[in-house]
């Protein structure tokens, strides 16, 4: 029972990370119906930039710098990889372009920071806290709180501010949003910036627990993509639940079956969702008009 509770705790922390990256996928999908397939690399870059900056400035000043870096990196991805594809209404140009940019970012990171896994300093005590016989790392709590806080902040911005409403309007109907005087190209750039910022934030949240390195992004990005599909690309609630489902099944399978199979249940779930409810567990079915 205690082991199960212990596994659940780790699963929840991992799942929240998947959830917050998947939330980033949703942000760009909402406004532009495109995704940054280099999302994992945005996370990796955020984490490694954080590692370099943290040694100079300390942890708390590092955070806003990493967030600003994420905003910038996301804008670059949109301008170089996505804008042209949207303009020409290319169905797949952005897929290849964002994957290519992700590979370039990864190569750059390998050259700057090397290929090895690096230790990331933890802002919180690294000794686990015992709670009813279950050991919880303070950083795991920070992951859950930080991820939820970020998602709530974006949600609050969208609902309360006029600029957030402009983002929602663009997601609703891009042409009509343009008629309101909203610069929808800028809104799409902004959503990419915000999406990469989310990933960079996830990178510094997870790094103290998992180590960081140029190779940390790929698997996380892919799993978060699975979460976004499972939860639905349009549902904020869906990515949290989807992330938790994937994180928990992973840790449970890793312990009770074999770590070699830990990715299987989540991916089987992905296949099931794709064949039974392609809009995601919480998604609203949309019909593509041709």
């Amino acid at each position: 029972m205690q082991i199960l509770a212990q596994l659940l705790v780790s699963g929840i922390a991992v799942g929240m990370i998947y959830g917050v990256i998947a939330f980033g996928y949703q942000l760009t999908f909402a406004t532009s119906k495109t995704l940054n397939f280099g999302q994992g690399e945005a996370l990796m870059l955020g984490s490694l930039v954080g590692l370099t900056v943290v040694s100079i400035t300390g942890y708390w000043i590092m955070l806003p710098i990493v967030l600003a870096f994420g905003l910038l990196q996301g804008s670059v991805v949109e301008r170089l990889g996505v804008r042209q594809a949207i303009k020409t209404k290319s169905e797949s140009g952005w897929i290849m372009a964002t994957i290519a940019l992700g590979i370039i970012f990864k190569n750059m990171a390998e050259n700057i920071w090397g290929r090895d896994a690096l230790k990331f300093p933890s802002p919180l005590p690294e000794a686990p806290i015992g709670f009813m016989g279950v050991n919880v790392l303070p950083m795991e709590i920070a992951i859950v709180v930080g991820a939820l806080a970020l998602m709530l902040a974006v949600e609050f911005f969208n609902r309360r501010s006029i600029y957030g409403k402009a983002v929602v309007a663009t997601a609703n109907d891009r042409d009509a949003a343009g008629l309101m005087g909203i610069n929808t190209s800028l809104v799409i750039t902004f959503s990419y910036a915000l999406s990469s910022m989310t990933a960079a934030f996830a990178g510094v949240l997870v790094a103290p627990v998992t180590l960081t390195g140029a190779n940390m992004g790929g698997a996380l990005g892919l799993k978060a993509f699975a979460v976004a599909i499972i939860g639905g690309l349009s549902s904020g609630m869906g990515v949290v639940v989807g992330g938790l489902i994937l994180g928990i099944t992973e840790t449970l399978t890793g312990y009770y079956v074999s770590t070699g199979y830990k990715d299987v249940p989540g991916l089987v779930l992905l296949l099931l969702v794709l064949s039974l409810k392609p809009s995601g567990l919480f998604g609203v079915a949309t019909i593509k008009k041709v």
């Binding site: 042409d175 343009g178 008629l179 909203i182």
Partner: protein, 240 residues
């Protein structure tokens, strides 16, 4: 206020508009009538920058706006209530109206009193007032049309483009829409109205243009067009 000279526009390689010229003087209501596929909606879309004109001039308030992106044209004071209403379905009625004033709220246009204008819209469209907090997607077709018009008016526009505001509405609601347009005309809102109900449009308008296969084939004071036997036979018969 708005002067269009030899406008050429279309979709891809298909040219829809051929040298369309028209004028909407300040404080007047001008209507553009014509059969389906004549290019009425395309004209409005080219005016507001939703499609890029291939050539021609679109002069609003002295400045050529042809070729500017949609949002820039809106910020210069052109409001367009588009075909099919296009309200933001996941946002509330109040938020839809607020977004109509986006350039005012964000400083791209003179701010004025946005809150007072909101109340003015609720007075003009009492049905919207009852549904302020309701999501626009849950409104009936008629209510969505009211919302689309009110949203466009929230810009305090120099020119208001109205594309088929009566489309798909029950006859009673069509009357209501035309009554509203008449009221806006009394308030001297400059409007370009595209309508399938040619007779009703000519009754309320000051001036009219007839569009046929992307060309202006007739124009004149609305009263004269209404009595023109050729126009009557071609466009007014079936809708009387």
């Amino acid at each position: 206020m708005l002067k269009v000279e030899k406008l050429v526009a279309g979709y891809g390689k298909v040219q829809v508009l051929h040298d369309v010229s028209l004028e909407v003087p300040e404080g007047t209501l001008v209507t553009l009538i014509g059969s389906n596929g004549a290019g009425k909606t395309t004209t409005l879309r080219a005016l507001s920058g939703m499609i890029a004109p291939q050539s021609g001039r679109i002069v609003m308030d002295g400045a050529d706006i042809a070729g500017l992106p949609t949002h820039a044209i809106t910020r210069r004071g052109m409001a367009h209530s588009p075909e099919g209403r296009r309200v933001f379905s996941t946002l509330s009625v109040a938020d839809n109206l607020l977004l109509g004033a986006f350039p005012r709220v964000t400083g791209a246009r003179p701010k004025g009193d946005v809150a007072a204008d909101l109340e003015r819209m609720y007075a003009l469209f009492p049905r919207l007032s009852e549904r302020r907090t309701q999501l626009a997607g849950t409104l009936s077709g008629g209510e969505q049309q009211m919302l689309a018009m009110a949203r466009a008016l929230m810009l305090n526009p120099k020119v208001l483009l109205l594309d088929e505001p009566s489309m798909g509405l029950a006859p009673r609601l069509v009357e209501e829409v035309f009554a509203t347009i008449a009221r806006l005309k009394q308030q001297r809102v400059t409007m370009l109205l595209v309508e399938q109900f040619a007779m009703a449009a000519l009754e309320v308008a000051d001036f009219g243009y007839v569009l046929e296969n992307g060309r202006v084939t007739a124009s004149g004071p609305a009263g004269v067009l209404r009595d023109d036997p050729a126009v009557r036979a071609a466009y007014l018969g079936q809708h009387g």
